[in-house]
Structure formats: structure tokens, C-alpha cells
């Protein structure tokens, strides 16, 4: 039986370093190629040696597909293509291809800054890697080769995020990447066809959570920022360059406008212009509201949000600053944090997850005294808030997607094991399908039962209908008779006459023959007549004819009699029948072998 194998090298019961190998119909596809920010050594990248042994990655993989620009999904791509040496096709959507290098550059710079690492991919490598990328359009089927095809669907989550449907012959897999089933301020909700894949590989970040409405979180966020500003405090929001930063900017911009607030909002590192550029360029990937209002007013052209200069951090009075990086582990956000940490009027809002070792992680877990460079201790007096604005489907959303795609099997990745376990139970119970949650390095094998689509000629269908019986029902299997022909890689069921015509063949008849010896002291003609009489008596309900050409016919079976040359009492019966009457022919031969009963005339 054909099988589909799924092996996560990353994202198997964890988050970070998403990298999933799918083997389907003899093709090997790598889904995402992410890095783990929690490590500073080789462990941050997936270890490809497990899958390729001594072979070349290019020879092993048929393609790599990147779902979106977050580093846990694309951070290892330049390492894979330029350092390990993968030279095959890489697919991602247009916005992802445009934004990915910015994030990779940021990550490279932070890594090189932090550790002064030299054994790391360079700017040139990022560029060379991006040059190998083939962009995807939504809903456009791309033929990777003669057998493998892929199709991207909108996933929400971040600009350009896509789910991907991978198909080889009649087998298929859907990989969701990260997705969001509810629209937010700048993006729409994920959507997919009822494509009934053999496996749906879904993220499960919020596997056990039914998230409160986004509106509530937004209200809380604005309330906290406003309160802090009102009491003259400064608010730091550490963000990554692109993504939720823009969503929060829209939120604050609208609020400032409505409330007529004057305190400045700054966005560091000149990314506002860059972000603007990409959101404008890929306006079709944003949500309906933004697309509609774009003509009158571009939501990403902010009146209140200005570019930040490092000296502003020392300015007196309240302000809101968006600064990178998002985990407070280097650069501008860390510098501002150090300046503001000592004042309890100030506030830092962490809008996402921070890995162990970062200042973000420490303060989120309540550390109030931080050891900084040179053994200096930083007293954290400012208010620390955590508000996750990451756009992932919650448990309800995941179930909704399953209902949409109707998969035959489910496989969970990108989440915590305990939470996955819970969701797995729910899925198996509600949808009666198998649900898997392999750990990293573990291979899940799903046996597929590929149904081979066959076209049927209308005339054959009509003929079958004419024979009576119930009308064809797609849900009830029914046996059909015809000739299966394969033409131009497709199968067609037609009547045998049509098959002969289409294939330009002559009809041949296949007949079985056998000889039976019989002791009968009569003439040949009498013996034949005796046989006729005998069969008339034995075979009721069959058409039996004694023909003038000295043959007896029972259905399609022909019987002839001749005397043996040596002994005229020994008669040789020649039986011949077509394949339709095979059973009857066999029966007759064994019947006649027994001899004719006495008393026949």
C-alpha cells in the first residue's frame, strides 16, 4: 500500500525551528526551514544529516516550501542553501520572498553583534539564497515537476503567510504553517478548499486555548498604554521588525486620533517606511477593510508615529516607543529598556514570546534585579506587561479548519506535547480520524488508499442504467462492467465496442476446446443425436439445438462427433466454448466423460 511519511526535524512537539520532511509518492518535500532562537550553537538549526546521511541534500529533496517569514520558519534557509549546499527549488509567496531577507538580515546582525560570531551566514548568502526562491501566487497550482504540484492558500497570521496543498498523483498533504482563523486589524482569516488531503499537518500553538476576543486584548493594551502616558510614564514596546508591530501601530494611531493625544509615538530603526512599502506593495494580502479604505487613506501612513532617534530616549515626558528586537536581547530595545527600567512610572509591554536567556524572558517571569554587563545590577522598577498579539488559530479555529479541509488524517506540530495530546483526543473524538503528534525525529507513516479517478462514457452509463437497479449514488459503491482503457495518462471505462473503436483494434474471440473420448457403438450421427437427447434431459432451461451441420449447440458451446480411426466404437467428442460459458463448458466436458446413459434413442 502507498504510504506518506512525515518526520519533523523541528516543531515536533515543540515551537521553534519548524522543519518537517514529508515523503509522498516518491517525492521528498521540506516544509519550512526555521531556526531556534533559544540556542546559540549548531542546535539552533535543523540537523539535516539525519535524513540525508552521506548524500547531497539537493539529490534528496525535491523542493523546500516556506510558509511565512517568521524566523522559526525560515531562519535556517540560508544555512541550508548556502552552507549545507541545497541547490534545488525553494517556494514561498511573493510577500514572504520580499520580507524574508529583512528578517534574516536583522537576525544575522543581532547574532553577529551578540557573539561576534563569524561562522554564520553572511549578507551575500542571504541574497544568494533569496535568488533561488520561486514566488508563489495564492490559489495557483505550481507544477514542481511532472508529478508533484503545490498550491498556496491564504493563512492570515502575518503578511504573506500561506498554507500549502501538496499533491502527488491522488495522494495529498496540506501544511498549514502558522495560521489564524479570525481576521485582525490588518489581515484576513485563513481559508482553504475542501481538498480532503490524506494528512492535514496543522500548527497547534493554542491547542488548548479558546482565546478571548481580540477586541478585549486590544482594549486592555490601549488602556494600559493610556494609563502609563497619563501618569507621565514612558512605554516601551519591543517588537520584531515586521508583523505584529504594524498591527499595534494601527491600533495606537487610531486611538491617538480618537482621543486627541499628544504624547509622541516613535518607531525605531526606520522600519516604518520599509513596512509601509511592503504593505502597500502587497495590499491584496491584507484584510478587506484595509483594501477598501486604501484608496482614501493608507492605513499604514501614520500621522502620529514618527521615526525614533536614540537621543529621544532621554527626552522628558511621556512617550511610546516601538523598538527592535522583540525579546530585549540586544540593540535599541535593550538600550532603551536599560534607560527606563529604573522608573516605576514607565512600562514595558511584551507583545510576544521570549526565549530563555533574553532580558524579555527574565522580566516576564518576574525577575526584578538583572545582572548586566560588567556585573552591574539593573533594578527593574518599571511595570512589565505581557500581551500576546500573535495571530494563531485557537482550539476552535483548528477544529474549524479541519471541518473546512476534511482531511483523512491529522498531524499536529508547532505546539507543546501536553496541549497537543488534549487536542488530539478532541479531534479523534469529533471527527473520527486518526491524529498524530510525532516528536522531533520521529516518523509518522500513514497508509493511503489512493482512489484512482476513472472517467466513464455516457453511453456505458446509460446502458448500465437501462439494466435497471438504483440510480448512481456517489456515497454507495456499485459494480460497473466495461473495458478500462488508459489514454494520455488518464483512465476511462467504456463499452468494449467503443474501446475497440478508440484503440483501433479488431475484435478477436477466444474459445476453449477440449476432446472427450466415449465408447458408443452407434454411427456418428446417432451418437450426436443421443448426446442431444441426453443433454435435453439434463440441462433444463438452456437453449440446446441440433443443427443441420452435424453439431449440437448448448448456448455458445459447440459439440461435434467423430469416430476413432483405430476403433469405430470409440467416439471422439470435440467441445468448444467461448469464455462467457466457461463454467458450463467445464460442466459439459465432465458430464460427457461419464458416458451416455443406456436407453437413449
Amino acid at each position: 500500500m502507498p504510504e506518506i511519511k512525515v518526520t519533523p526535524l523541528g516543531a515536533g512537539q515543540d515551537v521553534g525551528r519548524s522543519c518537517i520532511l514529508v515523503s509522498i509518492g516518491g517525492k521528498n518535500i521540506m516544509l519550512d526551514c526555521g531556526m531556534h532562537m533559544g540556542y546559540n550553537d549548531d542546535r539552533r538549526f535543523p540537523d539535516f544529516s539525519y535524513i540525508i546521511q552521506n548524500a547531497r541534500l539537493t539529490d534528496f529533496l525535491d523542493c523546500v516550501i516556506i510558509s511565512h517569514f517568521h524566523l522559526d520558519h525560515c531562519g535556517a534557509l540560508p544555512y541550508m542553501s548556502e552552507m549545507v549546499g541545497y541547490d534545488g527549488p525553494i517556494y514561498m509567496t511573493h510577500p514572504t520572498k520580499a520580507i524574508c531577507p529583512i528578517l534574516l538580515e536583522d537576525f544575522r546582525k543581532i547574532t553577529v553583534d551578540k557573539k561576534g560570531e563569524t561562522n554564520f551566514f553572511t549578507s551575500q548568502m542571504i541574497k544568494d539564497c533569496m535568488k533561488k526562491v520561486i514566488p508563489l501566487n495564492l490559489h495557483q497550482t505550481v507544477q514542481v515537476d511532472d508529478e508533484l504540484e503545490i498550491k498556496a492558500y491564504y493563512a492570515g497570521h502575518v503578511l504573506g503567510a500561506a498554507m500549502v496543498h501538496i499533491k502527488v498523483g491522488s495522494e495529498s498533504v496540506v501544511y498549514t504553517g502558522d495560521y489564524n482563523m479570525t481576521p485582525d486589524r490588518h489581515l484576513g482569516a485563513a481559508w482553504i478548499d475542501k481538498c480532503r488531503p490524506d494528512i492535514l499537518i496543522s500548527e497547534s500553538t493554542y491547542a488548548t486555548t479558546i482565546r478571548d476576543s481580540k477586541r478585549c486584548r486590544e482594549r486592555d493594551f490601549l488602556k494600559k498604554v493610556h494609563e502609563s502616558i497619563e501618569r507621565g510614564g514612558k512605554v516601551l514596546i519591543p517588537v520584531f521588525a515586521l508583523g505584529r508591530a504594524q498591527e499595534l501601530c494601527i491600533l495606537l494611531e487610531t486611538f491617538w486620533e480618537r482621543m486627541n493625544l499628544k504624547a509622541p509615538i516613535y518607531f525605531s530603526t526606520g522600519l516604518t517606511e520599509k513596512a509601509n512599502h511592503y504593505y502597500k506593495l502587497f495590499i491584496t494580502w491584507t484584510n478587506q477593510k484595509i483594501r477598501k479604505t486604501f484608496v482614501q487613506r493608507n492605513m499604514f501612513e501614520f500621522k502620529h508615529i514618527k521615526a525614533f532617534d536614540r537621543s529621544y530616549a532621554d527626552n522628558p515626558g511621556p512617550m511610546v516607543v516601538f523598538a527592535t528586537p522583540g525579546m530585549l536581547h540586544a540593540g535599541q530595545s535593550l538600550q532603551i529598556f536599560k534607560k527606563w527600567a529604573g522608573n516605576e512610572k514607565n512600562m514595558v509591554i511584551m507583545p510576544g514570546y521570549c526565549v530563555q536567556g533574553t532580558i524579555g524572558h527574565k522580566i516576564l517571569n518576574g525577575q526584578r534585579k538583572l545582572e548586566m554587563e560588567g556585573r552591574a545590577t539593573l533594578d527593574v522598577k518599571l511595570q512589565v506587561e505581557y500581551m500576546s498579539f500573535s495571530a494563531h488559530a485557537d482550539a476552535k479555529g483548528i477544529m474549524q479548519l479541519i471541518r473546512m479541509a476534511e482531511p483523512r488524517n491529522m498531524l499536529l506540530v508547532h505546539g507543546e506535547a501536553v496541549k497537543m495530546e488534549f487536542l488530539k483526543g478532541k479531534i479523534e473524538q469529533e471527527f473520527s480520524i486518526d491524529c498524530y503528534m510525532p516528536a522531533n525525529g520521529e516518523t509518522t507513516t500513514v497508509t493511503t488508499n489512493p482512489s484512482v479517478p476513472v472517467d466513464m462514457s455516457l453511453s456505458l452509463l446509460k446502458r448500465e442504467m437501462a439494466l435497471g437497479g438504483p440510480l448512481p449514488d456517489p456515497k454507495k459503491p456499485r459494480t460497473m462492467h466495461g473495458t478500462l482503457i488508459m489514454k494520455e495518462n488518464s483512465l476511462k471505462l467504456v463499452s468494449s465496442e467503443q474501446a475497440l473503436k478508440e484503440l483501433g483494434l479488431n475484435e478477436h474471440q477466444l474459445r476453449f476446446t477440449c476432446r472427450v473420448q466415449l465408447q458408443d457403438p452407434h454411427s456418428d450421427a446417432d451418437t450426436l443425436h443421443r448426446i442431444y437427447t441426453h443433454l435435453k434431459n439434463v440441462l433444463k432451461g438452456y437453449t440446446i439445438q441440433h443443427l443441420p451441420d452435424s453439431t449440437v449447440m448448448v448456448e455458445s458451446i459447440v459439440i461435434k462427433v467423430s469416430s476413432s480411426a483405430e476403433d469405430s466404437n470409440t467416439k471422439v467428442l470435440l467441445l468448444s466454448w467461448s469464455y462467457q460459458d466457461e463454467d458450463l463448458g467445464s460442466y459439459l466436458s465432465s458430464l460427457l466423460k461419464k458416458g451416455l446413459p443406456p436407453g437413449l434413442c
Binding site: 546521511q53 553583534d113 486555548t209 520584531f240 533574553t358 538583572l370 525525529g441
Partner: protein, 861 residues
């Protein structure tokens, strides 16, 4: 070990032993184990230094039902580490060792299903097996059996770890210390019965499992072969001979049964056996592998043999024949000569080539291994490297559909390769690798012609175009003399470059611009004009004059990458003219203006970085300030824009420019009688005679401001570089001022070398350090609003002047350097930081459980 860590560790152990829920960060435990491993490798006795660890292990294993699998796995690995020393082993043997490594217990408890427990068990064992007591323990517990089973585990990680541990055990049993072994003792060679039982058990297993009885056992055979190859490569003679004796029959059976999936691992085993003198039988197996398999497996086996660099002329010749056969068949070029042994496979190769998937794969393997084929001694090769190049060129022609194959019956095969990007890329890689083979230069024109065709073809995808350019540069590089390339071809190349530099795809434009840069850097000449041409670009019609406008145009490209490449290519193109003398003034002015625009306006860091590098290269080549006066005048703008950039790498490159200017200044000062090209230069004379003038000149150029602004930058590399340069300036120039003149004079001179610090931006921070900041103003008015709330612009403090040397002494540079040199990363990597994180996470979780706060969910970044 840090005192604070020692005091925090017991609490961490308590927290981990009691953790019922998962840790929020899955990396903490691995990092903790890294730290213990580092300590142990540094010679610290873990059980002595951290006595709490023993209690921790006992607590976890005695309460395994309540423990988190990741903590259990960590405990298994930690136990192995603790028992890796003989003293530690003894302590553990008396207490928990049996229980920790009792896999049946883990199976019975239902925990074995979790791969992290299996990994923990294997890695714990592997770490522990460093001494004979540990090996005795392993043998007595009979762990070989479960390890053999785990070799075919559903988890790749478990299977690989099991295989490595088995190899480790067997090598340990045969007494040869592994090369990576640390404190490892050599176990006596006269391995007694207990160790030989392990080897015997393993040999039995090999006999039984090497040959698969059914398809489902193929994976098992594959794993055993991998382990066997590992062992044969590393084992000493007694074990190696024993293994060889055991496996020779099954190997023979495998070689003759033709399991395609086993070809490569089987080849690895045979090669390992062959390398260690496996005898005639192995040699025979090798020759069967290289001659009597189906063509698809044969090319794999031949490639593996050539990659092994085994100096066996017969087999090298045979392998070369096997790999060249598909090229011979598809191109119709007689590469193999008349009596090649590979020829017997011709019809079956043709059969394989008719099927698309196997065709592409087989041709790609042949092409990928062409460099190995040509590295074979010429007398083993059936044809010359030039003929192989011709074959590769033919494949490329077939791919582009430009030429029919001269091979009979090849129509279907042609359909399979026509337009195949994979074959094209492999062929281009092969062509690149072949450029340095002997006797191939005669084909330069043919290579040029074909590559230009590829560059011109509308069907070529961007990566094929990029590779074509790279191959072209490689051939130009190797051949250097381009006399054979006709004028027409060179003209064609210029035409195609003109076309591609305007391509709609940025990838193509970028590759084209990069190509021009590479040509400018590739030394080349024409026999007719040897004196003039010094690089490949100048050998093209129109030379530099034809390409500079193209590159200048590309400076306006909408894609940042292309702009950056054109800046770099321009630098390479113009470099010879800088060395020869000034660039034409008009061109210089245009370029400087455009580059300054990019530096101040471009949204992409790559382009701005390239601009600074351009200026660094230009100034380095500039022989005297007067020969590139416009550039010299632009230095203050470059420095001020570069040091105000948002990208720290631009700032670091700007500091490199500052360093260059500093070098220039000090060189001139240090060698007052050195012959400089322009002795009349006022600048040179000034710095020679007077360090104060030199300082003033650096201040005027903006070097000092750039260094000060870098010093207070938020990005560590910028701060570090600036600090180092400022220290250098302080240590080289300021003492001279004191030494050369009397102190009072020096103070006066020092005050003469001064700079202005404005009241905003980076200067405000510097002023704060220097203590020259004005008193803080009352920023909040009666309405309680700050100036921003009132819509006021930021108020700028008046500028102040500071003496350069005075500032350099008061900036506490050495103190700063010590902090900056530490790297901000030490916070993230320090063990104390890790221990504190584990403790605070646990507190937060407890707090959350009791008070229902917002849980930090690991989502994405």
C-alpha cells in the same frame, strides 16, 4: 564554580524534581546539561562540587510517575555524566544506577514510548561508558540487545544515538581508545570472556539481520550496514578481522541480491573493508558492485567509489566508465572508447534514460561526479577531460533543445532532459569544476558561445543565468588569455549583458551586475594588446567605458540588492583608474553625488554598506588628497551620514573609514621624511610637523565626531570598535603632546585641538559622560505636560567645545572597553542566568496556578 551558582543549584534541583508541568522553555535542561558537561570536562568532580545532584537523581527516579518526561530524560543523561568518572560511578552504583538504567522499568511504567526517555537512556549510557567498570555494568546488564533493537527505532534521533553507542561499546570492548576520548583508559587487549561475549552477540546479530528476509526488514539492514561501516573504519585489527569474517557471507548475498536502497550503505561497508585490507573476497565484491548491478545503482556505487579517493586504478577506471556511460549514451559522443567494461550496460542505461525520473537522476549523478572522474589518473580515463567538457556542453545544448542528439533512439531521452533546470544546474556546476582540468582551454570559445546562448535564452531561469555567469567568470579566470575569443563573441557578451541588466527579474539584474564586478576583478589579457588589458572587463569591446554607464544606471535600481551590487561592481571597475590617477572629474562628481544620496536616503542597509565600502576602497587607493580632491572634500559628509545610520554594520564600516584616515594621518606623522607622492600637500606637512594639527585635521574631517558617536551607540560592535580607536588615538597622540612639549604647553595645545559637541543626539550622551551637560531643566510645566505634550519641538542645548585629549582622558575608555569586550551575550549564556531563569519560571508558574494570570505561551518569532 561560581559561589552564587553553588547556592542556587540545590533550589533548582528541588524545582526540577518537583515539576509536574512542562518547563516553559525546552532549551533550559539542555543548557543545564551543557554546563555540567563543561564543568566535568574542566576536571570538576560534579558530585563533590554539587552534592545535591545525587539527591536530585534519586528523587526523580523514585517518583518517576509524577516527573515530566523531559526532566526524566535529563536525569538519565545527567546520571551518565556523573557516572562517567570512576569515583562518581562507584557512588552511583551503590545507590541509583541500576534503577536509572533499568529500561524494563521504564517500559513497564509506560514511559519508554516517549522518544525523549529512550534518547536519555542511550545518551546516559554513552556518556557513562568511559571506563571498565561502566563497561562491566553494561555487559552484566546485557544492554546490547535493547540497543540493537533501538537501532531501527521510529525516531531518527534514537536510532542514530543507538547506533553510535553500539559502535562506542564495541570499540571500547576491543581496547582501542577512541580518538575523541578524554580521561579514557585503555581496557586490556586480552579481553576476557565477558567482553568477547558482547562482540560474539553482536556478530550473531550481524549474521542474522544483515540480509533482509522481506522488504519490511530493509530499514534494519540499512542501519546494520551503517554501523558496520562505522566499525570497520575505526576498529583495530582483531575486531575488524572478526567482523569481516562474520559478515563476508551475508555481504556476498547482499551484493548479489540487488536491493537498490542498500547500494550506498553496502558500498560504504565494502569500501571500509577494502581500505583495511579486506582481501580478495572483498575486492571481488567491490568489483561486482561496480559492474553487475542495475545501472541506477551502478552509478551510485561508482560515485561512492570515486568519492572515497581509493587509489585502485582498475576500479577507478571502471567507475569512471560507469559514470561516463549515461553521458556517452545521451550525447552520442564516444566517451568510453571501444572496449569499455561499462559498455555492457549500454542498453539498460538507455532503458533507464527513457524514464524521466531515473533519467534526470542518473544524468545528474554523472555530472555531479565529473570532477571526481577527471581527478582520476589520465591513463585510467577512457577519454580526455576535453572530451568530457564537450559532453557536458552537449548535455547543456540538449537541455536547451538547441541540438538533436547524435545518439540513435534518443528522442524520448531528449524529452526528459529538455528544459530540466536540475540537469542544467548540475551541468553548469560540472563545467565550472572542469575549467581547471588539463587541456580544456582549447574549448574556451565553445564554452563562451554556449554560455552566451544560455544567457540570451528566454527560457533560462534566474538561477541558471546566475550559474552561467559564474561559470563564465571561472573560465575567464582560469584561461586569462582571451585572445581566442573572437571579437564577435565578446561583442555578443556585451550585448547580452546590456539586455540582462534591464531584465524584469531582480535576481537576473543582480547576477548581471555581480558578473561585471567579477570580470573587473578577473585578471585577463588579449595577446594583441597585452600591455593594455589587465582585467577581463577591459578585454570586452568598449571596456570600462561601456560598463560604467550600465552600473551607474543600476545604482537607481528599485531593488536594494541590485543597488548594492552595482556599488560594489563600480568600485571594482573603477579601482584601476584610482590607482592610475584620478577618475575623470565629471564622472567622479556624478558618482560621489549619487553614492552620497544612497548613503543618506536608501532604505536598504545593503546598499548603504556597499557605499561605505566603496569609499573605503577608493580612499585606500587614492595616492594623495589632491588626486581625488572631490572625494577628500566629501569625507566629512560620508562620516557624518555613515555614523548616523540606522544599520550598525554601516556604522562599523564608517568606523573602518575613520580608522583608515587615522592610519593615514599617523603614517604621515610617524615618517616625516618618507617620500610621499605629493610632498607639497599642506595636510601632509601639517601632520608631520604637528600632532595638534593632525588632531585638528581629524576633527575637521569628522573622524573624532564619528568615533565619539560610535562610542555611545546602542550596538555593541560599533561601541567596541569606536572605543578601541579612541584608545589608540589617546595612547598614540596624547602622550606625544605631553612628551614633546612641556605640560603647560601641552594643555594649551590640547585645548587648541578641540571639537564641538552639540546639545543633541549622541553628543548629549557624550557630554553627560564628560560632565559637561547643562543642568536638567524643569521639564513639566504647570499643566503637568512635557514639551512634547504641548506640541513643542525638542529644545536643543547650546553646543560646547571640549579639548580632544582632555575628552579622551575623561571618557573612561578602558572601563568601557572591558564592558563592551564582554559581549552582551554573556548574560544569556551565564550559568547563573540560566539557574535564575529556571527558578523564576517555576515561581511564575506556581503563582499562575494559584492566581490565574496570563500564561506565557510559546508561540512564534
Amino acid at each position: 564554580m561560581d559561589r552564587e551558582c553553588v547556592s542556587a543549584l540545590p533550589r533548582v534541583c528541588e524545582v526540577l524534581a518537583a515539576s509536574g508541568g512542562s518547563l516553559p522553555d525546552d532549551t533550559s535542561l539542555e543548557k543545564l546539561l551543557d554546563w555540567f558537561t563543561e564543568l566535568s570536562e574542566a576536571g570538576v568532580s560534579l558530585l563533590e562540587a554539587c552534592p545535591c545532584l545525587l539527591g536530585f537523581v534519586s528523587a526523580v527516579v523514585s517518583n518517576d510517575a509524577a516527573s515530566e518526561p523531559s526532566v526524566l530524560s535529563f536525569t538519565l543523561k545527567l546520571t551518565g555524566l556523573l557516572a562517567a568518572s570512576e569515583d562518581g560511578f562507584k557512588v552511583l552504583q551503590d545507590s541509583v544506577l541500576d534503577r536509572v538504567f533499568d529500561f524494563r522499568h521504564w517500559q513497564a511504567a509506560g514511559l519508554w514510548e516517549d522518544p525523549c526517555i529512550r534518547i536519555g537512556w542511550i545518551q546516559g549510557l554513552r556518556t557513562m561508558l568511559q571506563h571498565s567498570q561502566a563497561l562491566d555494568f553494561f555487559v552484566q546488564a546485557d544492554f546490547t540487545e535493547p540497543l540493537l533493537q533501538l537501532q531501527t527505532d521510529t525516531s531518527l534521533f534514537v536510532a542514530s544515538a543507538a547506533s553510535q553507542t553500539l559502535a562506542h561499546v564495541l570499540l571500547l570492548c576491543q581496547s582501542v581508545p577512541s580518538p575523541e576520548g578524554r580521561h579514557r583508559e585503555t581496557i586490556p587487549v586480552e579481553t576476557d570472556g565477558k567482553y568477547s561475549a558482547v562482540v560474539a552477540g553482536f556478530c550473531d546479530y550481524l549474521k542474522k539481520s544483515l540480509v533482509p528476509k522481506e522488504a519490511s526488514q530493509l530499514h534494519g539492514s540499512q542501519q546494520v550496514l551503517k554501523l558496520l561501516a562505522k566499525l570497520l573504519t575505526r576498529a583495530g585489527p582483531p575486531l575488524r578481522d572478526r567482523l569481516l569474517l562474520t559478515v563476508s557471507d551475508p555481504l556476498e548475498e547482499l551484493v548479489t541480491t540487488n536491493y537498490s536502497q542498500l547500494t550506498l550503505p553496502l558500498m560504504d561497508v565494502i569500501l571500509a573493508a577494502h581500505s583495511c585490507g579486506g582481501g580478495e573476497r572483498v575486492a571481488r565484491l567491490l568489483s561486482v558492485m561496480l559492474s553487475a548491478r542495475n545501472p541506477a545503482d551502478l552509478v551510485h556505487a561508482a560515485a561512492a567509489f570515486l568519492r572515497s579517493s581509493h587509489p585502485d586504478p582498475d576500479n577507478r577506471a571502471r567507475s569512471a566508465g560507469v559514470l561516463l556511460l549515461p553521458l556517452d549514451v545521451i550525447t552520442g559522443l564516444a566517451l568510453l572508447g571501444a572496449d569499455s567494461s561499462a559498455d555492457q550496460h549500454r542498453s539498460s542505461v538507455m532503458e533507464q534514460l527513457r524514464r524521466k525520473t531515473s533519467c534526470v537522476s542518473m544524468i545528474c549523478i554523472s555530472l555531479t561526479n565529473v570532477p571526481q572522474v577527471t581527478s582520476t589518473a589520465p591513463d585510467c580515463l577512457p577519454c580526455s577531460p576535453a572530451e568530457i567538457v564537450s559532453a557536458v556542453l552537449s548535455v547543456l545544448r540538449l537541455c536547451s533543445g538547441d541540438s538533436p542528439s547524435s545518439s540513435p533512439g534518443c528522442a524520448e531521452v531528449l524529452r526528459n532532459v529538455t528544459g530540466s533546470g536540475r540537469v542544467q544546474k548540475c551541468a553548469l556546476d560540472a563545467l565550472s569544476a572542469l575549467s581547471s582540468s588539463s587541456g580544456v582551454k582549447v574549448l574556451l570559445v565553445e564554452v563562451f558561445t554556449l554560455l552566451i546562448q544560455y544567457l540570451n535564452s528566454p527560457a533560462s531561469d534566474p538561477s541558471v543565468i546566475q550559474k552561467s555567469y559564474q561559470v563564465l567568470v571561472k573560465w575567464v579566470d582560469v584561461c586569462a588569455d582571451l585572445s581566442d575569443v573572437t571579437e564577435q563573441l565578446r561583442e555578443d557578451l556585451v550585448q547580452v549583458v546590456r539586455k540582462r541588466v534591464c531584465d524584469v527579474r531582480w535576481e537576473v539584474r543582480d547576477s548581471t551586475v555581480e558578473f561585471l564586478g567579477h570580470l573587473a576583478a578577473a585578471p585577463a589579457s588579449l595577446a594583441s594588446d597585452k600591455e593594455k588589458a589587465r582585467n577581463a572587463l577591459e578585454c570586452l569591446p568598449g571596456g570600462r567605458c561601456a560598463t560604467v554607464p550600465l552600473l551607474q544606471e543600476a545604482l537607481q535600481d528599485p531593488e536594494g540588492y541590485v543597488r548594492a551590487s552595482s556599488v560594489s561592481a563600480l568600485a571594482l571597475t573603477l579601482a584601476p583608474s584610482w590607482q592610475q590617477g584620478a577618475a575623470p572629474p565629471q564622472q567622479e562628481a556624478e558618482i560621489v553625488t549619487r553614492l552620497l544620496e544612497i548613503l543618506s536616503q536608501d532604505t536598504q542597509g545593503f546598499s548603504r554598506r556597499a557605499v561605505i565600502r566603496f569609499f573605503v576602497a577608493w580612499i585606500s587607493s587614492c595616492s594623495s588628497p589632491s588626486s581625488c580632491s572631490l572625494l577628500t572634500q566629501s569625507i566629512p559628509s560620508i562620516l557624518s551620514r555613515g555614523s548616523a545610520d540606522l544599520d550598525w554594520e554601516v556604522k562599523v564600516h564608517t568606523l573602518e573609514l575613520a580608522e583608515l584616515l587615522l592610519d593615514r594621518a599617523s603614517e604621515s606623522r610617524r615618517h616625516p621624511y618618507a617620500v610621499t607622492p605629493d610632498r607639497t600637500s599642506t595636510h601632509a606637512r601639517a601632520v608631520e610637523s604637528d600632532p595638534v594639527s593632525m588632531l585638528n585635521s581629524l576633527v575637521d574631517q569628522g573622524v573624532f565626531s564619528a568615533l565619539l558617536s560610535g562610542l555611545v551607540d546602542c550596538d555593541r560592535p560599533v561601541g567596541l570598535k569606536a572605543c578601541q580607536l579612541l584608545i589608540r588615538l589617546r595612547d598614540t597622540v596624547c602622550p606625544l603632546l605631553l612628551g614633546d612639549q612641556d605640560v603647560s604647553d601641552a594643555l594649551v595645545s590640547g585645548s587648541r585641538a578641540s571639537c564641538e559637541l552639540p546639545g543633541c543626539g549622541w553628543a548629549r550622551e557624550v557630554r553627560r559622560i564628560l560632565g559637561t551637560a547643562t543642568a536638567p531643566r524643569n521639564v513639566h510645566g504647570a499643566d503637568g505636560l512635557g514639551p512634547e505634550d504641548r506640541g513643542e519641538e525638542e529644545e536643543e542645548e547650546p553646543a560646547v567645545r571640549v579639548g580632544v585629549c582632555d575628552a579622551l582622558r575623561r571618557l573612561r575608555l578602558d572601563e568601557r572597553l572591558a564592558v563592551l569586550a564582554q559581549s552582551s551575550d554573556h548574560v544569556h549564556n551565564s550559568p547563573l542566568s540560566l539557574l535564575q531563569d529556571i527558578l523564576t519560571v517555576s515561581r511564575t508558574k506556581t503563582h499562575l496556578d494559584s492566581q490565574l494570570g496570563q500564561e506565557v505561551i510559546v508561540d512564534c518569532y
